[in-house]
Every structure is written in C-alpha cells, then in structure tokens.
C-alpha cells in the first residue's frame, strides 16, 4: 500500500526535527505513565486493602495508605482456611507437571526434529491441528473417562496429560531443535553414542534456553488453572490455591481484607516468576505469536 502522495517541503521537516524529538518523548512518557497507572491501580488497591483492618475497610473516603498496617491479615488467612495446604498442593502439582512436561516435550520434539519416518509430517500437522480444538469439547468426555477410571478426587487427571506434552510447547521446542546443527548429532553417533544419549547429553543442555520457557509456561498454567481442579477435586484438603481462593470467597463474602491478602499471595508466585524470566518470556511469546 502506498502512502498519500501530498508533497511537503522536506525543509519544513528538517527544521522541526529537533524540538519534535523532545515533545514526542515527553508525550511517550506521559502516555506510558498514564497506562501504567491504569494497569497498576488494581494491584495497589489489592495491596492496601490487604493491609487494612475491618474498620478501615468501610471508611469513606477510603484511605490510600492504611494506618496502622494490619499485617495480621496475612496470618489470619492461614487460620481461616488451610491455605498452607493449598500452597503445598499447588506446589506438588506444579513440580510434577513441570517434570512431565519438560521430559515429554524434549523427547517428542527430538523425535519430530531428528528422525525420518513415514507419517511424521502428517502427525506433526495433526499435532498443530490439536491447538485449534476448543477445550469445552474435550472437557466433558475427559471427565467421563477419568470418572469411569475412578480418578475423581485424585490428582491423576491433573497430572497425567502433562506426560504427553502440550502441543504448543512441543512445537516451540521442535522449532528450536531444528536450529541446532545436525553435525553435533552425527559426530556423537560416530563416537558410538545412542540416540537416547545424544538427546540427553548433547541436545538437552543446548535446548535449556527454550526449556526455561517450557518450565515457566507450565508453572503458570498449572498454578493458575481453575477449571481443572474445580471439576476433579471435591475434598477441600486437596484444593489448589486457585480453587481454595474461590472456596474462601464463598465462605467469607465480606472479609475483603482477608480475601485480598489471599489473592495477593496467590498472585505472587506466577508474577515473581514472570519478573525473573520476563525478557526471555516476552520475546518467546512474541515470536510464538508471530509464527503461530
């Protein structure tokens, strides 16, 4: 598409360029600051509420900085619900899912990127096609399957699928492995290494940058998952943090200071992880978005 052809003397642009640069930057910062306030205010509101006493909660106008700071809200959460247990349950699920996902995606991606076998390309297209399957179609029959196996109220339905690898993550790792020179594999093969050894001793260490993303994505997905635990778990002692939070909300409709304290604690792990891995993560998301 071509640009509008109206001609303006280039001298006019030249003349304006220097002051234009500064005003433009100030404008950029103002816009960014305005957006930052919009995005961050809910966080701020959550944090201050989490530090208010019940009396301060219903004060009009609301206090921006609560005085005194009610730190005891955080310990109170642990007394009202088995929140420590929820954290433990979530951590357990996250650990197993991450292990399963890293193992499966590495192995499957290696299979797709390094082996020549009939049906490979068709299967890879099927793998990509499964990305399009809406989850509601699979949810009901999966539940029937796991219910018939007697796995309701166990962690198995929330763990087992990870050991098959997620199609999106397999795709991502496979793309990465395609960029690793095949000479490395061949040299190792000449030295008598088996494919299994090549994968775990050579390809795996080189793939760590992309596997970090697998870990982060899986961690966040499992930690934040709400519907899975909601459908499969009914014993409150087995609840995850997300599910426990809704359970807590149902029981404590009006204790917003406690609910906000709990919500804050539920948000911290994925957000901290995000802040640590953000450079690589945002790059990865962008790349996946463009290529996907």
């Amino acid at each position: 598409m071509t640009v509008n052809q109206s001609h303006v003397r280039s001298a006019a642009i030249q003349e304006r360029r220097l002051p234009l640069y500064f005003t433009r930057n100030i404008r950029s910062y103002l816009v960014l600051l305005f957006l930052a306030v919009l995005f961050l205010t809910p966080f701020y509101w959550m944090i201050t509420t989490a530090l208010k006493t019940e009396a301060q909660l219903f004060q009009i106008p609301p206090a921006w900085i609560p005085n005194p700071l009610a730190w005891e809200n955080f310990t109170q959460v642990f007394k009202e619900v088995p929140f420590a247990r929820f954290i433990l349950n979530s951590s357990f699920l996250v650990t197993i899912n991450v292990a399963g996902q890293v193992f499966a995606t590495t192995m499957v991606a290696y299979g797709f990127s390094r082996f020549q076998f009939p049906g490979r390309d068709v299967l890879f297209v099927i793998l990509l096609a499964t990305l399009m399957i809406p989850k509601q179609v699979v949810l009901v029959p999966q539940f029937i399957l796991f219910a018939k196996l007697g796995w309701v109220n166990t962690y198995l339905p929330l763990i087992l699928p990870a050991f098959g690898g997620s199609p999106f993550l397999i795709f991502m790792v496979r793309q990465y492995m395609m960029s690793i020179p095949i000479d490395l594999d061949e040299a190792a093969m000449i030295d008598g290494a088996s494919r299994w050894q090549i994968l775990w001793r050579i390809i795996f260490p080189i793939s760590i940058p992309i596997l970090v993303l697998v870990v982060v994505f899986t961690f966040v997905d499992v930690w934040n998952d709400f519907m899975g635990p909601l459908i499969y778990l009914n014993d409150p002692l087995k609840f995850t943090v997300s599910l426990g939070l809704s359970f807590f909300q149902g029981a404590k409709e009006t204790s917003w200071q406690l609910l906000m304290a709990a919500a804050l604690m539920a948000m911290l792990p994925p957000i901290i992880l995000f802040l640590i891995a953000q450079r690589r993560l945002l790059g990865g998301i962008a790349a996946a978005g463009i290529k996907g």
């Binding site: 071509t2 219903f58 995000f274």
Partner: protein
C-alpha cells in the same frame, strides 16, 4: 516414496536395511508420549463426545441413545441456550473491538523508542500472569458499589456509580474489566509485529509528507494486519470460553445477565450431570466458533495485507 512401495508396506519393511528400520522404530518411540496422550486424552474424548451428544447419560448408569433429541431440545425449547448465546455474543461484540483498540494502543505506546520502556512492558503484562480467580476477586472489590475504588473515583467527578455486578444492565461490563486488565498479552504480540515493520517504510512516508495519523493508517495498520488477524482469532476463541470470572463473581446473575455459554455447559455437566446434553452444547459452540473463524478468514483478503503475496 513410490506408490508401489506404499501399497505394500510390509514388503517394503522386509527389504529395508536394519538401520532404516531402527530409525523408524526410534522415531515412533520418541514421539510416543505425545502419540499416546493424543489418542487417549484428545482423539478418544473428541470421538466419544460426539457419540455422547446423542445420548442421555448421567455418568452413573449406562448411556441411553436418544438420537437427535438433545439437539432438537436445544434448538426448540431451551431458553437457557438462547440466553447463554445472547450473553456470550453481547459480550464479544463489545469486548473484541475494545480489546483490539486497547491492545493496539498499548502496543503503540510501548513501541516508543525511549529509555525504560521495558519496565512499562512488564507492568502491562503482569496482570495477565495473575490467576484469573485472583484478578476476579480484585475487580469484585474494585467494583464494590459503596466502598470500591471505581465508584469512589466516579464520585470525585460527581457521578454516582452504578451497582456494577449487582445490576443486570452493568454486570457484564464489570466482568469485561477483568478481561481487559489482561490486554497486555495481546499488546506484547502486537508490539512484536510493530517492531517487524521495516523502518524504511516510515522514512519513505515521512519524505512523502505523511503526518503521524497517515503513517498509522497507511503504513502501520496494513503492515500489522496479519498480526491483528491472528490476535483477533485467539481472542475470539478465548471469549467464547469465558468462565472463571462469571462463575466466581456473579454465578451467571443477576437475572442471568452474565450467564455465559461455558457456564451453561458447566452447570449442565457438573451440576445436573447431563453429560449428553452438555456434549451437544459443546459441539454447537464449537461449530459456532468455527463458523465465525471462517467468516473472519473469508473476510481477511479485504483487510489483511500479506507482504509475501505482493512479491
């Protein structure tokens, strides 16, 4: 691969070198975790779901074949189905354009070549990382009619804020805010698209005297249209699966004004234990998503500009 060899794979297998056989077996072994998972957790369930949608089944007993009766009921007498569709469509029609404009706007702001822009990018993305349920709780409190921050701020400029989640006419917009808070994710994808636009196009436009609006209209948007297309499709699929916020904050109310389609599937399957009916609902939703996606795909030549096609 010749057609003769294909027609007799067994014979072909016998004439293969051991090394080639090893390669084939190895390949399948390495991809077996996915293959087994796919057959067990995806392909099997999808086929089964199709079958189940023609039955009456409460999981405990045996499924009873009812033919098309589930579909018939849904399309003729089911008022909840109509309501769920209405709510989901009403939400999408407002949410999709708003999230696209906001996402693009945020991405344009982030595309400024100024120092410290990376910190802002992280700020904007952060809400998307929060568990949906925690984000929903935050917004429930933000939108509290009496003590919430939103109505407090509206009060400053002399507006008496609505009852938000407790009012059937505003509840859906309250829930929309939870979704919009996560707009940073599409902004980051747009940003990557923006950074792929070659600088020389802007330089050329500037030489031609295009102002910033014209540059946006005639360079940025056309060049970004494939990315916009991708994000809109992703958002669309996501919108039709909206569940957590309505389940937690409103339970579909007040007066079913936030009774999303996914919530309906959930109540049918897990509260009434009507697996057959829920499966039929799920298939109908899938077909709807498919149709709309195809519609967008069909319309794409009108507004999506692929650089590769021109060359």
């Amino acid at each position: 691969m010749t057609s003769k060899a294909l027609s007799n794979p067994l014979k072909r297998w016998r004439t293969m070198s051991p090394k080639r056989r090893q390669e084939i077996v190895g390949g399948y072994l390495f991809i077996s975790p996915w293959l087994i998972g796919f057959l067990l957790f995806i392909a099997g369930p999808v086929l089964m779901s199709f079958f189940v949608s023609f039955t009456r089944w409460n999981i405990v007993g045996d499924p009873r074949w009812v033919g098309l009766r589930n579909y018939e009921r849904i399309f003729t007498v089911d008022k909840d189905f109509i309501q769920a569709l209405k709510v989901t469509f009403r939400y999408s029609i407002v949410y999709l354009p708003v999230t696209t404009v906001l996402g693009l706007g945020t991405a344009l702001a982030l595309n400024a070549k100024v120092k410290g822009v990376g910190i802002f990018r992280s700020f904007f993305y952060m809400p998307y990382m929060a568990p949906q349920i925690a984000a929903t709780l935050v917004w429930m409190w933000m939108l509290n009619p009496r003590y919430g921050l939103i109505n407090t701020m509206l009060g400053w400029i002399g507006i008496e804020g609505p009852n938000w989640l407790h009012d059937p006419s505003t509840a859906i917009y309250g829930l929309m805010l939870v979704g919009l808070w996560g707009v940073g994710r599409s902004a980051v994808i747009y940003l990557a698209g923006l950074q792929n636009i070659p600088q020389h196009l802007y330089d050329a436009a500037e030489v031609d005297g295009a102002n910033s609006w014209q540059r946006l209209r005639h360079v940025t948007l056309p060049m970004l249209s494939p990315t916009i297309f991708y994000v809109v499709v992703i958002e669309l699929i996501g919108v039709f699966q909206t569940f957590t916020a309505s389940f937690v904050a409103t339970g579909g109310g007040p007066l079913k004004s936030t009774f999303f389609y996914m919530l309906y599937i959930y109540t049918k399957a897990w509260e009434s234990l009507r697996m057959g009916y829920a499966s039929a609902l799920a298939w109908i939703l899938t077909i709807i998503i498919l149709l709309i996606t195809m519609l967008i795909l069909k319309s794409s030549p009108m507004w999506v500009h692929y650089e590769a096609e021109k060359k």
